[in-house]
């Protein structure tokens, strides 16, 4: 039981609790903030796994960008309900919905986790090697040699997403103006 393992276990435990709050928190703003917290913890998990670069990228992308965008999205889309408990959060499930959104998801989730954990326990994984490697250099050189085409494609994808988001938002604006 060395420091890294302890750190991992603590981080993982808090992350599970925090992720649970993402699903159950009554206010959606709180859920989003819990999500940001979970992302931070996952970044910590990455550090304990020796992936500092990914940890920084995780904070940069998920905490700095994704969470912020989600907060913006919440504020822009439901300004009225944002302070109170999410009215959609808990309602009585009746009839088909009771099965569709009540029983079956719980069964599916529990079954999934159970199966996966069973599999993980059964497989004879290789022991983790010790020592430190400079993953930053490794990633950098691999990204620009072996994976250069996926890298460029990712850049194009981001550009398309950017343009797409703008087009979606702007076009709707115009329609509303014409309509009213």
């Amino acid at each position: 039981m060395d420091a890294t393992r302890i750190a991992f276990i603590v981080l993982a435990a808090v992350a599970v609790v925090s992720a649970f709050r993402v699903v159950t928190a009554p206010k959606i703003m709180h859920a989003a903030l819990w999500l940001g917290f979970t992302f931070m913890l996952v970044a910590g998990v990455f550090v304990t796994l020796g992936a500092e670069f990914l940890a920084a990228a995780q904070v940069l992308v998920y905490v700095g960008a994704v969470t912020t965008i989600i907060l913006f999205g919440i504020m822009l889309s439901q300004a009225a309900e944002v302070r109170s408990r999410d009215p959609l959060q808990r309602e009585r499930l009746e009839g088909a919905a009771f099965w569709r959104r009540g029983v079956l998801p719980v069964l599916a989730t529990v079954a999934f986790v159970a199966i996966m954990v069973t599999v993980y326990m059964r497989v004879p994984w290789p022991a983790p090697p010790g020592g430190v490697i400079d993953t930053v250099r490794l990633i950098g050189s691999a990204l620009f040699t072996t994976y250069v085409i996926p890298f460029e494609l990712a850049a194009v994808l981001l550009l398309i997403a950017l343009v797409g988001a703008i087009v979606l938002a702007v076009r709707d604006d115009n329609k509303e103006e014409q309509g009213s």
């Binding site: 569709r100 998801p105 599916a108 999934f112 199966i115 996966m116 599999v119």
Partner: protein
Amino acid sequence: MIQLAWLIPVLPLAAAFFIALFGHRTTGKGDRVGIGAMSIAFLLSVGVLLDTMGGARWAQHLTWAIHGDLVLNLGFQVDPLAAVMLVVVTVVSLMVHIFSVGYMHGDVRYKRYYAVLSLFTASMLGLVISDNLLFLFVFWELMGLCSYLLIGHYFEERANVHAANKAFLTTRVGDVGMFVGIMLLFAAGGTFRFDELAARIADGSFALPVLAVAAILLFIGPVGKSAQFPLHVWLPDAMAGPTPASALIHAATMVAAGVYLVARGYALFAPVPQALEVVAWVGAFTALFAATIALVMEDIKKVLAYSTISQLGFMVAALGVGAYTAAVFHLMTHAFFKALLFLASGSVIHAVHTQNMHQMGGLFKKLPVTGWVWLIGAGALIGIPPLSGFWSKEEILLDAWHHHPAIFWTLVAAAALTAFYTTRATYLTFFGTPRDKHAYDHAHEGGRVMTYPLMILGVLAAVSGFVASPLAGFVYFGEPHHASFDPFVFGVATAVWVLGVGLALAIYKYNLVSRRAIIQVFYPIWVVLKRRYYIDDVYQYVFVRGMIGLALVSAWFDRHVIDLIVNAVGWIGRKVSEYVDEFDRGVVDGIVNGIGGAFVVGSRVLRQVQTGFVQSYMLVLFLGLLAGLAILVIGG
């Protein structure tokens, strides 16, 4: 300084992009930027030339693309030939840039003009210092594009658009040959670099026939770019562009590129006498042929255009007979005096707003500066000592006489004609009585921004001939060239230009022989010359009409033969299908309808699954995944 040689093309290139993007925001709409970049490039070129004369050489390359074993480099090199060309190109381009401030004043596409002008110069400079054929070809094509843009500058008129298209397409014909040549050399030698190619040739890696074919193919490019017969047709039409641009295209950049390429790749031609023979004859024939047309042209720019073709013929012929130094020398002096003549004609056109020499006359009094520099330029073109053209032409004739007398006599004839048409143009434009009173009265010099470049170029055109002997020890192929004096050649040359000038003066000034009479006597020849040997018409009939004719024949064949076959096949098919139809209706339709019905009933049941709730789909998807996982776990 020589390490900075790469900046020389980069500066105008940057200027071109800057003008194109931000030109409208700067004072002068970008002309200052262009002139500034050219000035610095010019100073750098002078520095590079001085370094080169001190014995410095420079080569550098960046890796551009790697494809397996093939490595393509962006390479630059500076040797004496390149250094001389850099100075010539930058000085002429700088003058053109400055002159254009006055000439293009108020033009609607002023910014675009300057951007293209800078890009054009950048391409030429890049071509000059590139060290491999592929890179050179890139700049070569870039220049084709720029010439297209400049010639079509006034694209409101259809004729100008056609001229631009013609220039682009005609030079493209040459470029195709050149590209095949480059690829052939690459296939045989495995490199694009000049020095490596020369080394391969020297150690005999090339089969001589391959080299001959490659050299001649490569030569087709210069034939197009430097407007040699039979691809010269674009150049006179290219006069449609603004006159300063014509000066740039026809003096320093575009047409010089062809000659430069032959000089640069001389190692390819030198071992193949047959190729050199072809080069020499193409050049000599072009020189004579273009000079004859220039005799009868009425448009001052057309005279200069054919004169350019003719002078380029001189250079090409010089390369063909092995007078490498003389060719480069003439390229340099010609750049100066032809740029001067074009700019001077631009000044005249600016003053009288016509290009027809028969509507000018007597302008010397009105345009003294233009007149004087024109006289210097014309003298240099004719080859009057001690003006620059005399020295370079003399060298060419000398080498031709020593190596190839037949070529020599052809060139002498061309030189005589040159003297005649130049004198004719000079007299009609500047002397005699004004034939268009209105234009004459309103003519005036175009201001300092136009006269100063003319004067500078005038000085250069006058004195640049004196560098003959330093140049000979500096730019050479194989071993240094020694200029010698041959009284016979000098005598012949002097006799022919005196004869030409005298004859022209006799006809146009003293009216010893009536022009009308001459035309009547030589009427058939006159018409042929006037129609430019019908070459444009031949191209029109052979290529354009020929293509249409071919199309008509093909259409007939298509309609009558192929359609017949098709119809027959169709008829058979119809008969067959009539029988199939019966079967289809009875048996197949029954099955199909049955299946369709089954699907209708089935989908009525199945569509209940499409609830429209995204989460239901996700749930089903996941349950499926779980089932798969479970099977794996239990099975494995």
